[in-house]
Amino acid sequence: MAPAITLAAETELSAANTGFMLICSALVMLMTPALAFFYGGMVRVKSTLNMLMMSFISLGIVTVLWVLYGFSLAFGTDSAGLIGWNSDWVGLSGIGLTELWDGYTIPVFVFLVFQLMFAVLTPALISGALADRVKFTAWALFVALWATVVYFPVAHWVWGAGGWAFELGVIDFAGGTAVHINAGAAALGVILVIGRRIGFKKDPMRPHSLPLVMLGAGLLWFGWFGFNAGSWLGNDDGVGALMFVNTQVATGAAMLAWLAYEKIRHGAFTTLGAASGAVAGLVAITPAGGAVSPLGAIAVGVVAGLLCAMAVGLKYRFGYDDSLDVIGVHLVGGIAGSLLVGFFATGKGQSDVAGLFYGGGLDQFWKQCAGVFAVLAYSLVVSAVLAFLLDKTIGMRVSEDDEVAGIDQAEHAETAYDFSGAGGGAARTAAAPAPVAVPAENRKVDA
């Protein structure tokens, strides 16, 4: 995120930047349903809809909270570096249509809707770790509480004027710490409380639709251009364009690295590996893309692709059930990208701070470590506490019977696919003629 300094020369509304940022906001919005499909294809048939809904509901809950108080908590006037507040922004009531955001050339409304899409996506990311087993009500409450006590404050730390990480000089261009490490650590915190799926490590739990996974990954990649290139809040000096290029480069490199690792380790170039590698690259370049060169982006992508490919196997070794590898991809990828800024920052992009390989020493690396581990620890602990409280009150998990039979039917009264011949979904024969009602008096009864 760009530094929130006032640029005296640029205080007029720019139609170009405003239009650019509205498009970027729409692109970031697309990431949430894209994530839903990315996750939805990876679960078994019986929990497809629940997986889609866990992401989709965030578009409702967080959007409303953002208007009521979220924007104010994240970007309002700072208190002690920890939280913001601005009573004029409650309900977005005191914001003028042409009022500009903090010295930038875009209206406050544009900035807040762009940031809203980040706030929506982040809790949705957590849901991948909880597939198949969480009550929908408990999840919805968790999203509301987590956004309030974890996401809004952490966004303030990292991006808000006066936030402690922002003031320290932690570089997080578009959300490596505030979004990915935050969500990955939360996923770990919650699954430590709720436990494994029934049948974890015993039953086959292979993805039910890799084409959906590829569709989701492709749309995520597309939406991510808004996520990353938009985070400079304008298009005047080329940094946003550098970010766009780096996003593409790192993602391609990470996909290749994951596939190469897989081919050597497991003997095949898998579709899921290509999709996962791409997402790992997107995650890793998110904090770094404004600070590194395109060659640096290749390095970031390769490191993230390899590390994440290795990390997803850890759940089997340690026995925690991170269903869809939120920790392996988002936490590990986010940490990799955030820390690599300390090595690969060129000093010519987003800020003039150089990393170790560009003569800047280890100074920036330690700052990155502070940001990474503070967000990780805070999110992990608070998320575990929230999950624990919800579990002790309304209960986090569905019943064993419902989990085995399928959470879609139990929680949503729907199923994703109709495989029955009679229903017509998978029938190969011509539709059976509709039964004709015969009045009772006309029926022949065999004696």
């Binding site: 292979r206 003997g267 997803v312 196997g313 590898d325």
Partner: protein, 112 residues
Amino acid sequence: MKLITAVVKPHRLDEIKEALQAFGVHGLTVTEASGYGRQRGHTEVYRGAEYTVDLVPKVRIEVLVEDDDADQLIDVVVKAARTGKIGDGKVWAVPVETAVRVRTGERGPDAL
């Protein structure tokens, strides 16, 4: 009469059908089937997690023939089904007491 049953690779079905027609067989029944023999299916990998898929897709072909034709017909099926690779399938014959053509009520060899 004999019932010849062949459980074979799905992609050989067309060749087998043609060979049977050339031999003079008038009718047959085809069912989608799944199973395994010595090859025991295959392995799939998802993010490093390996799944063994035991049951592989097959087709089951059934033909009724007169006793004298049975051996020759088995040879025809085997020749058409063979790829030489593992998983080519099996063919067997069992005696049939009687057969009836439903439309006409003809019995025995006349019903074939």
